[in-house]
């Protein structure tokens, strides 16, 4: 009898613990711009760190008014995955918003004190550190940017360059047509590496292929911000994994709800590094010879070996 009672008590405790765990934190709504793999991974990251008490809305497929819906449900916190999603929840002032996978959140942050988030890019300083570590001879970093789109990034890079004692060689462009000349000009300025910025003016499929071939011809390695561009001829990708960004966003949300941080706050994601050994070999960089570039570096040591066919 005692034994039976003990089993019932144990089962109840288990159920209560898990239930209470579900309701121990405040419920959240995740607004996701579109249903693409990186955003889904970010969502998975949120779930892994924040918990399962989440409601996800896909903006591209949602028929109703997202703002009305959120206000009706009154979640404790809102996650906005992607710039489009952030723009949809921007007018909600009373609920804290954690954005992620937004490249340039600054235009949204000016009037909204309830918005915090995790940056999409690895911090400039971290990027320079990686460059310094794996390409020690790299002193002059070439950058092409459109001030309208990536001026803020350039400023951050300038600050970081000072700290890491590297010089930044920059060219401004205002349309894609200027990119070709800018690439040619910047290559004449004796840059050691070219740092690719996520600027839609600078990066188009056409300029990308030209850039790869041109810099390869000049033996200038390209450092990019996404592992996808390794296949297109970049030497090194310094990036953050969407899953990890999601995890960091979930942790940030919990801290916000616990009142452990003051709003607004923006945190840098953890960085990862991946090198295309074939490009390294063709550029005759020692990075390939000592084998360090053969594996991805960063937080997740289990990442697979890079292959151009991946």
């Amino acid at each position: 009898m005692h034994r039976k009672a003990s089993i019932y008590i144990f089962c109840f405790l288990i159920f209560f613990t898990s239930y209470s765990n579900s309701f121990a934190f405040f419920s959240a709504i995740v607004v996701q711009s579109i249903k693409v793999e990186p955003y889904n991974r970010a969502f998975e990251g949120i779930k892994s760190s924040y918990g399962n008490n989440l409601k996800r809305i896909i903006v591209s497929t949602y028929k109703g008014d997202i703002k009305e819906y959120i206000e009706e449900k009154k979640p404790r916190i809102i996650f906005a995955i992607g710039e489009w999603a952030l723009s949809k929840v921007l007018s909600i002032k009373k609920i804290p918003i954690v954005y992620l996978m937004v490249l340039n959140p600054y235009p949204f942050l000016s009037d909204n004190k309830n918005i915090s988030g995790v940056s999409m890019l690895v911090s400039p300083q971290k990027r320079f550190e990686y460059i310094k570590k794996y390409i020690p001879h790299a002193k002059r970093i070439g950058v092409i940017y459109n001030p309208k789109h990536s001026g803020y990034m350039y400023k951050e890079l300038c600050k970081a360059a000072k700290k890491t004692q590297m010089s930044l060689v920059a060219k401004k462009v205002f349309s894609s047509q200027d990119v070709i000349d800018a690439i040619k000009e910047i290559s004449d300025d004796n840059i050691d590496v070219f740092l690719m910025l996520p600027d839609v003016t600078v990066i188009t499929p056409e300029t990308l292929s030209f850039m790869s071939l041109f810099f390869f011809k000049k033996s200038i390695p390209i450092i990019t911000f996404s592992e996808k561009y390794l296949k297109l001829g970049a030497l090194m990708a310094i990036y953050s994994d969407p899953f990890h960004i999601g995890v960091q966003a979930g942790i940030l949300a919990r801290k916000i709800l616990q009142g452990k941080v003051r709003l607004p706050v923006i945190i840098w994601p953890k960085g990862k590094l991946k090198i295309n050994p074939y490009v390294a070999k063709n550029l005759s960089l020692p990075i390939y010879e000592d084998g360090k570039g053969m594996r991805a570096h960063g937080d997740n040591k289990k990442d697979k070996k890079f292959s151009p066919h991946n």
Binding site: D199, T204, E206
Partner: protein
Amino acid sequence: MEIIKKIKNFPLITEIFFQMKDSLFKRVLTTFITIFMSFFLTLFIFYSCQQIYSIKSSFIREGKILIDVLATNSRLGVLAGNEKLLKQEAQGFLCQPYVIGISVFSKDSLLMSVTKHEQNLPRIITIFQINKRLSQGGRPPYIYETDRLMEIWNPVYISIGFKSAEELVLGIMPTKTKLAGWVALSLDKSEISKKEKLYFLYFLITLFICISLAYFFMHRAALRTVGAIDMLCEYVDNFKNIENVEALQEIPMEGEDEAGRVAKLINEMIRVLKKRHEEKKKLETQLLNAQKLEAIGALAGGIAHDFNNVLASVMGSGDIVKYRMSKREEIDPKFVEAIISCSKRAREMIVELLKYARGKGMDRYPLKLNDQIIMLKKMASGFLNDDIEIRLELSEEDPVVVSNATQLHQVLLNMLTNAQDAMPKGGRLRIATGTAEISEDVARSKGEWVNPGKYGVIYIEDTGTGMDEEVMKNIFNPFFTTKGPEKGTGLGLYNCFNIVKEHGGFIDVESVKGKGTFFKIYIPLSDSKEVVVEKEDDSLINIPKGSGTILVADDDPFVREVIKAILTEFGYKVILAVNGIDVINKFRDNKDEVDLVLMDIVMPYKHGKSAQEAIRKIKPGVKIIFMSGYPDYVLAEKGISTDDIEYIQKPVRAATLIKKIQQVLKS
């Protein structure tokens, strides 16, 4: 046969079709070639159409690939409006020999760049028409062409760019594109015609090799197909000269196929022909003999007439001599001379008659035609009717031919006999001699045995009944006669024709019914004008007298007495014997005395040869001379050869006899 030889030497196709006569081989080969050419031409037309289409489509396909690559590579240049970059991209394409120019237009129809080989790059179509076509929904690339030029237009699409920087970071590549401009590739179509020419060159070489090989194999196949028939034809061609049955050969072909069966039949036919030919020859020989007898019969009258004349002279002269001797009057030598001359004439007549009957004397030697005609006239005057007037017209050239007097007389006597038969009521017979030059064409028309050159001609013209065309065509055929079965054998002129043919000559005949017939007998002239004439030395004056005893045996008492008289006159002692046994006995009795035995071969009781054996047993080494009035062939029939003995043919002149005896005694 020339056709088959030509065939085996691989004649040209044109030679077969245009020069060769119709033949089974030609038909089979023509069929093969027609089938082959039909098949080959169909294949060629089909393959050529496909090749020409393929060359052009390959050219277009290459152009499309080039324009596609060019459009892709020009994206950056068009995007950046960078002419240098565009030219740089285009330069690589101009190394293609058929690319003569590359033009790049912006979306706004502005010419951004032209790279070209030629100064004035012709343009088939404008950019505005291209844009219009695109707006109408035409699917690029667009191809326009003239006789010389081909233009391929392809749009330059560039991506619309990343929608957002986030997509850029996430590596979500933009899939949509937008029109940024046009590239136009100008191609020289002469490259197509070059390839077509090259194709046709290769094709012609292949065609030549194929046709040569095909002709070789078809030729072999055709030969194999008709080879047996060719062989048959080759042998059957011998039948052209079917008269020469002995030369016909059996076809060495066995087998049960069609050709084999035909060969068997032909071989059987040849065997039958040969058998019949043998029979015919036998029959001809028999008929020839009959014809000779007929001729001899005809001659007999004439000879009898001459012989009577000769005998009349001999008897008359003898009577005068006898009369004068009985009166002890001086004898006129002309009578003795007449006896001798007439005897000689009689001997010649006998010799000729025997030769004719025996068919001997076939050796040919130069003969003067004029002499022979004169002799013929003498012979003919004996049997020709008196109401036939003979006129001789002998050529002053005095032609000499290589012939045999007997054969020549046989021909001429036949002609004269025919002439006499054609003139039952009498008429004129002209016999003339002359010469003629026979050209090659004439010689060929007269017969394959006739050679061109100079001929001696004997003309025999009568004023008889003549012949019609039908008779003239057949007069030289064996057994053809117009005289009726009892009178003629139909072999007279046939023999004449063959004798003249053996001489290498020929006979022409012209005749008008009711007016007469004109024969021209052509015999090749002798190279030499000299005629061999045997002169008999009949003078006894210079013959020295001899001595010794001679045993003379002959069953004819007149002969015995004449010989005794001659020998005694020349100093010899003569013992006479009357037959074979008598001579043996007389010799035994006088064996030491007799120096020479002169005996007839054919004698009563024992002929000369047996007597000789007996005499030789009595006295080996005794000298013996035989004599006989029989011709050689009669002696041969009796088993007596005159080859290994001393022999005198009777009648013999006294001088000849004495000389022979003296010669044998000295030896």
